[in-house]
């Protein structure tokens, strides 16, 4: 192979409604590696990109939540397959973004792939584990089943660019929610590459929408948006900002997941899924 060939570099764009637009603002920002080298100019998303992403996410709710749990599980598994196929690329990107040695990047990517597999298996078990037949004191059929809350705004972890991201997105969508994700501002490139995986995994457009940019700028628009049902503030490191976002989220009583340290390598707790599910209870008389 000739070594003097100039590589073709990727333009990192946003991922909204299944497409890869630039920011409507036309802005971008420099993304540097952990070691300080220039990596790319990422799109610097604006409030209008948040608006467009929420619109896309809302539009996708019906189809995604209406899909069978089996189908959603297959698609999540498909995401793992696609990710596995690009394993080397992700290891390189994660290492560029996060620094560290090759084995830690490998471990992160492998765990991210396995996490999709883990969540894929949950799709058709959630209702069994988190649902109930309720023995009410009367002649009534009474069943509680979890349903998606709708559109979830996710602030992805700032540090763990892929594993952390997958660990917050998968539990949201496995139950039928759609989401708008603010990727790690300093480490956004694996997120956009993940979007390429999502786009080729039979995941309907709009189920996951990924924005790159500044949390402090975009967070308030996302948390305050009246057509968003829940927010995951995991990646908000600034306590004052987290509080402000929680206050903004209260405008329409969003479900809020506060920032808290999480061990991304460990097997997840269920509450990341359950927090975005609405137990719905249906009553019906039993008669002849």
């Amino acid at each position: 192979m000739p070594t003097d060939r100039l590589a073709v570099k990727k333009t990192y764009k946003l991922y909204i409604g299944g497409a890869f637009p630039r920011s409507e603002s036309g802005r971008s920002y420099e993304v540097r590696s952990a070691g300080g080298a220039f990596l790319a100019n990422a799109a610097l998303a604006s409030r209008k990109d948040v608006r467009d992403a929420v619109k896309a996410a809302r539009a996708a709710v019906g189809k995604w939540s209406g899909a069978t749990a089996y189908n959603r599980g297959q698609i999540l598994y498909r995401i793992a397959e696609m990710l596995e196929g690009r394993r080397a690329q992700f290891i390189a990107e994660v290492r560029d973004s996060e620094g560290g040695n090759k084995s830690s990047a490998e471990a992160a990517v492998d765990a991210a792939i396995d996490r999709w597999v883990w969540y894929a298996g949950w799709s058709d078990k959630l209702a069994q584990v988190y649902g109930n037949a309720n023995p009410v004191a009367g002649p009534f059929f009474n069943l509680t089943v979890p349903e998606p809350t709708g559109v979830v705004g996710v602030v992805a972890p700032a540090d763990s660019s892929l594993l952390g991201l997958v660990s917050v997105v998968a539990p949201v969508i496995v139950g039928g929610n759609t989401c708008v994700v603010l990727a790690s501002p300093a480490r956004p490139l694996p997120a956009i590459t993940l979007a390429e995986v999502l786009a080729t995994s039979d995941l309907p457009g709009g189920v996951v929408n990924l924005l790159t940019g500044q949390t402090a700028e975009l967070g308030p628009w996302l948390a305050g948006h009246m057509d968003v049902n829940a927010v995951d503030l995991t990646g908000v490191d600034d306590h004052a900002l987290a509080r402000d976002l929680e206050v903004a989220a209260a405008a329409n009583l969003k479900r809020v997941r506060r920032p808290a340290a999480d061990d991304w390598a460990a097997e997840p707790a269920l509450d990341r899924m359950l927090g975005y599910l609405e137990p719905k209870t249906v009553w019906h008389p039993k008669g002849i």
Binding site: P139, F140, P285, K286, I288
Partner: protein, 315 residues
Amino acid sequence: MTATVSALGDVARSDAALRAFLHGLPGVDQVGAEARAAMLGTRSIKTTAKAWAIDLAIRMVDLTTLEGADTPGKVQALCAKARRPDPADPSCPAVAAICVYPALVPTAAEALRGSGVHLASVATSFPSGQAPLDIRLADTRAAVSAGADEIDMVINRGAFLAGRYLEVFEEIAAVKEACGDAHLKVILETGELATYDNVRRASWLGMLAGGDFIKTSTGKVTPAATPPVTLVMLEAVRDFRAQTGRQVGVKPAGGIRTSKDAIKYLVMVNETVGDDWLDPDWFRFGASTLLNDLLMQRTKLATGRYEGPDYFTVD
């Protein structure tokens, strides 16, 4: 064809048309209907309201004896009781009617003469109705000619449950014709109909075919009258009058033994169909032991002390 049928169009022109009509009636949710009946059963009827209701209930009793062991002597005693339920209290009203087997109609007619108490006879091969139609019609005519002014017939449940609605309709219509001027009460035998949907359909069938009353039960099948069954029948007569202009009476029969039960039924009449049915011409109780309990409660209200059965006649 009767006027009521023409008001709805000729729904009985064919089995198919009749089936389409009956199956087009709104469904009855069992749990909801039973809950409504139970809620009405919680009404607390006290003092003056209770006294009023007890007197009305006495006036609504079809005092009944339908035993193989019935004799003229038994029926004569019952007729005396019907005329003057409480010999100690002349203010106590008479009951609505005596209800007996056809063979005892002549005895009862004699005993009730001039009393104003109606004479009802079960007919149509009561209680099963399992006899050829001509025999059932002859049974009816015999009872009427012997002096019955009310006929309590049983519908052909076998035909109803088999879906032969037109057959049931035509039989009722034929009995109605055989009744002449006598009022026809159509016994649905709701205990054999199994569902409230069937009770509603059978109620309509009985009314469409010309019944003057629809009646729950023969008293020979368990369950007999229940509050929810009666509720569904009351809703049927209410809706039937709204659609046809013709008022039909309701008679729960069997199993109503206490004043408390009877008052619950009157509350249900009051809050389902209202004043128009709170009258012996439009609501009856088919009962035997109920009367004495009504009398005891009546006396208790008047005297303020609890009564004992030895003070009321056993007939």
